[in-house]
């Protein structure tokens, strides 16, 4: 049988074969029923009933290597084994006595069940006059799974009176059954944030190294989550994370407490106080469209003051004072504004189109291209050299603006607008990442409107000054002071060149990745899932070399010794998702968090929803998120 035979994959081929055995008219089998995945048979402890002793029958299920069957609560998926007894009149079967299960991780999920062999014992009550063995049969159903697939199986089984007895095997299985946690145990449960804290004082003779709680009911605990155990003076404290989609209130800790993976104790402890969900901070409700537009407009205004834009624009504005033709000036201003607006809309359109085409891109995609960064660096270098007077380049736009005799003044003004947006991009991308990223997760129309508002905000001061150049009259008359001003204004441009060169060096692999910081691992979704499944909290820093906010946060918060210490103390795994270059996996992870740009800071907590931290990270925000972990 190959794995790729679809009829077998669904399990129906096998189920059908077994059902044939179970069909009426076909005698049930006493010999073990064998499938490729499992073997099933009924075993007896004794040949005939004995007064005062239970008549125990075992369903022996042997799962093949790599396969498992299920406990009474199967965990995140699966199905408990069930037995329908077919007994002579007067006979009564008790419930299945479930042995201690194992927790079986399945990717980010977990099942509770048994690998290999399991004996499911059932005590059968006989009428007092029963002396001779009677026909004991059962219809058993079980689900057998490996981490990749599940096959429902069933069989009619009959106890073979002639088969050798398995008294010892059954006695051993009975011995290993969970006991009731009676007197001698101190147990107290209280509701906490995200789970239940169980205070355990075990009897003096039990020296458990580990404890794990297996609930009888589903929908109460996060099955896959680790249950952190803390040792106290007088015992232990087990934290049981509550299910994300809890079914009903978690008001009883009812199930098995398993010590060292083998000894099970049945407990039923009422929970005092309610389990509370942990608040998610640092992310307010989504803005309304009007507020988003207003903020984008204000953001555009401020862009004029950014170090990459201010030097270039101010030189041009200073030139306004020298111009006389009011009509030409206004036209120039409007065309400049049109250039800015068109550039922002083109940028938004390009991004929306790329996304619609299925490309995993986000805001900042421009700066993810080393070619663009290299061109930008050269442009800034040229502008800076020009301002410092290293050379005059009459043919380039900024110098040309002052030249009233330019041959194509209209195209010139429009191009100036485009240039302004281009030189602003190292600032728009890093400072407005979250805002524009958000706009892009909304509809295309909202995204275009937000980008347009940003463009309007950026264009307005320049256009106003073009309409009202007299506002510039208070400035001193043009003179040598302008030359020294130019020299000073060149400095931020040089700084931008250095920064872009650094980004480029990372992108082309000269510097490998962003400078590594001790204790940080590279991000992957699988790694997060794996760590969370192990019960570890995980902090992910979604960052990029070109993201200034990210770098500021890193220096002021994440790289601080007290923050690093706090992470270490709580056993938080630190992952860094570097978006300096294109990375579809990171883009998708951002989208899952409702974002489309960096920075994003997330604390993944086992058994609880991930918690987003503010983009403007503070040490207090990190500390409070971490403090919340231990409750």
């Amino acid at each position: 049988m190959t794995r790729h035979d679809p009829s077998i994959l669904r399990g129906f081929g096998l189920a059908a074969a077994l059902l044939a055995l179970a069909a009426p008219g076909i005698p049930a089998t006493a010999a073990p029923v064998r499938t490729e995945q499992a073997e099933a048979e009924l075993l007896a402890e004794r040949a005939a009933p004995e007064a005062g002793k239970p008549f125990t029958v075992a369903l022996r299920l042997q799962a093949a290597k790599g396969w498992h069957t299920y406990w009474r609560n199967p965990g995140d998926s699966g199905q408990p084994t069930s037995i329908q007894w077919q007994l002579p009149a007067g006979y009564h079967a008790g419930p299945i006595q479930w042995p201690v299960p194992e927790k079986l991780p399945i990717g980010p999920l977990a099942n509770y069940g048994y690998e290999g062999e399991v004996l499911l014992l059932t005590d059968i009550a006989l009428p007092p006059e029963a002396k001779t063995p009677a026909r004991i049969a059962a219809h058993a159903k079980w689900l057998v799974c490996n981490p990749e697939r599940c096959i429902p199986q069933e069989a009619d089984l009959v106890l073979d009176p002639g088969a050798p007895l398995r008294a010892q095997q059954i006695a051993y299985a009975r011995e290993a059954l969970p006991e009731s946690a009676g007197a001698g145990w101190g147990l107290k449960a209280s509701g906490a944030t995200g789970g239940v804290a169980l205070e355990v004082v075990p009897p003096a003779d039990l020296r458990a190294m580990t404890l794990h709680f297996f609930p009888y009911e589903e929908g109460k605990v996060q099955h896959a989550a680790r249950q952190p155990l803390e040792r106290r003076d007088a015992g232990m404290r087990l934290f049981i994370p509550v299910a994300a989609q809890a079914v009903g209130a978690f008001d009883r800790v009812h199930g098995l407490l398993v010590a060292d993976g083998v000894r099970g104790f049945e407990i039923d402890v009422p929970v005092k106080g309610a389990v509370t969900a942990s608040p998610v901070v640092g992310s307010a409700r989504p803005l309304g469209l009007v507020a988003a537009l207003a903020l984008a407009f204000a953001g555009g205004l401020i862009l004029n003051l950014m170090p990459c834009v201010l030097p270039v624009l101010s030189i041009k504005v200073l030139g306004f004072a020298r111009r006389r033709d009011a009509h030409a000036m206004r036209l120039h201003g409007l065309l400049y504004g049109a250039g800015v607006l068109a550039s922002f809309l083109a940028l938004a359109g390009l991004l929306i189109a790329l996304k619609a085409a299925g490309a995993a891109v986000g805001w900042g995609f421009q700066l993810q291209s080393p070619v663009f960064v290299a061109l930008l660096a050269m442009l800034f270098l040229a502008l800076a050299l020009n301002l410092s007077g290293a050379f005059e380049f009459r043919s380039l736009v900024p110098a040309r603006l002052a030249n009233a005799g330019a041959s194509h003044p209209h195209a010139d003004a429009f191009l100036t607008g485009i240039l302004a947006v281009v030189v602003a991009s190292p600032c728009t991308v890093p400072f407005m990442g979250a805002a524009l990223g958000y706009a892009l997760t909304e509809s295309a129309l909202v995204a275009l409107a937000v980008f347009a508002a940003l463009g309007l905000g950026m264009a307005v001061p320049y256009v106003l000054l073009a309409f009202e150049p007299r506002w510039l009259r208070r400035l001193p008359k043009p003179g040598p002071w302008m030359v020294s001003l130019k020299r000073w204004l060149a400095l931020p441009l040089y700084a931008t060149v250095v920064w872009l060169a650094w980004v480029l060096s990372i992108q082309v692999g000269l510097a490998g990745t962003q400078p590594a910081q001790d204790g940080w691992q590279p991000y992957s979704q699988a790694r997060v899932a794996e760590l969370v499944a192990q019960g570890k909290p995980v902090f992910v820093d979604f960052t990029a070399a070109w993201c200034v906010t990210c770098q500021v946060n890193k220096q002021l918060v994440l790289a601080r010794p007290d923050t690093e210490h706090a992470f270490a103390e709580r056993g938080v795994a630190l992952l860094r998702a570097d978006w300096t270059r294109q990375d579809p996996e990171i883009t998708r992870a951002l989208a899952a968090l409702g974002r489309n740009g960096v920075p994003v800071y997330v604390l993944y907590r086992p058994g609880r929803e991930p918690r987003l931290l503010p983009e403007i990270l503070t040490r207090e925000a990190v500390q409070s998120a971490l403090a919340d972990l231990s409750t």
Binding site: R3, P6, L9, R10, G11, F12, A15, D76, S77, Q79, G107, P108, L109, K141, C145, E148, R149, C150, I151, P152, E218, G219, A244, Q245, V247, G248, A277, V280, S283, A284, P286, L287, A292, A298, G299, I302, A356, G358, F431, M432, G433, A434, A435, G437, Y438, T441, A529, T549, V552, R588, A589, A591, A592, G594, R595, V602, E609, P610, L612, E615
Partner: protein, 195 residues
């Protein structure tokens, strides 16, 4: 500078995991025809999310008995949007490429509003979907109002569909009648999702 930056980084939606009573995580997934489908485009309607894997015996139970197709037909006729999502990872042998998924849905006669593929499992994880089937209901305001099983009879036997209490029908009937959903969180059963 920090204040200045703060002024512009207005914040986006929460990354709340699929929790009943909270906004349902928004997503965009391609349907089997390659067309992107966005959850928030359906604001104003009830949306059912159904996790599916055609290779799963529990899914076969509900499609083989025409239970799922019946629900899809019944509720899409009442303007409920029904999104069927397969989160099996690409590379798993139970993974169905878009074409195969489309053919399967046609063969079984399913009529969801869209059949979506989530091969990276991003959306499945966002909803903490664990099993196939696993059912969710999002209300017209985008709030998750139901998460759990299809019904209360954990089995692969098609016969059980007749006698089971169908949680999704119960929840939708209450919701469409403007009543609060009495069982908003139930235990789901089925195969584990092959993330």
């Amino acid at each position: 500078m920090k204040v200045l930056i703060a002024a512009f980084l207005f914040t986006a939606g929460n990354a709340l995991a699929g929790t009943v009573g909270q906004p349902a995580p928004d997503f965009t997934l391609n349907d089997v025809g390659g067309k992107p489908v966005k959850l928030s485009d359906y604001r104003g309607s009830y949306v059912v999310l159904e996790w599916v894997n055609p290779e799963c015996p529990y899914v076969e139970k509900h499609y083989g008995s025409a239970n799922m197709q019946g629900l899809q037909k019944e509720y899409t006729a009442q303007k409920v949007v029904w999104l069927t999502i397969n989160s099996t990872r690409e590379g798993h042998y139970e993974y169905y490429p878009p074409q195969k998924m489309a053919v399967w849905m046609k063969q079984v006669g399913g009529t969801p509003s869209a059949t979506l593929l989530d091969p990276t499992g991003t959306v499945g994880r966002a909803y903490q979907a664990r099993t196939t089937p696993h059912m969710y209901i999002v209300d017209p305001k985008g709030v998750l109002v139901y998460a759990g099983g299809i019904d209360d009879k954990r089995s692969t036997s098609k016969e059980d569909v007749k006698t089971a209490k169908n949680y999704v029908r119960a929840a939708l009937s209450e919701a469409l009648a403007g009543k609060p959903i009495s069982a908003a969180s139930t235990a789901s059963y089925g195969c584990s999702i092959k993330y």
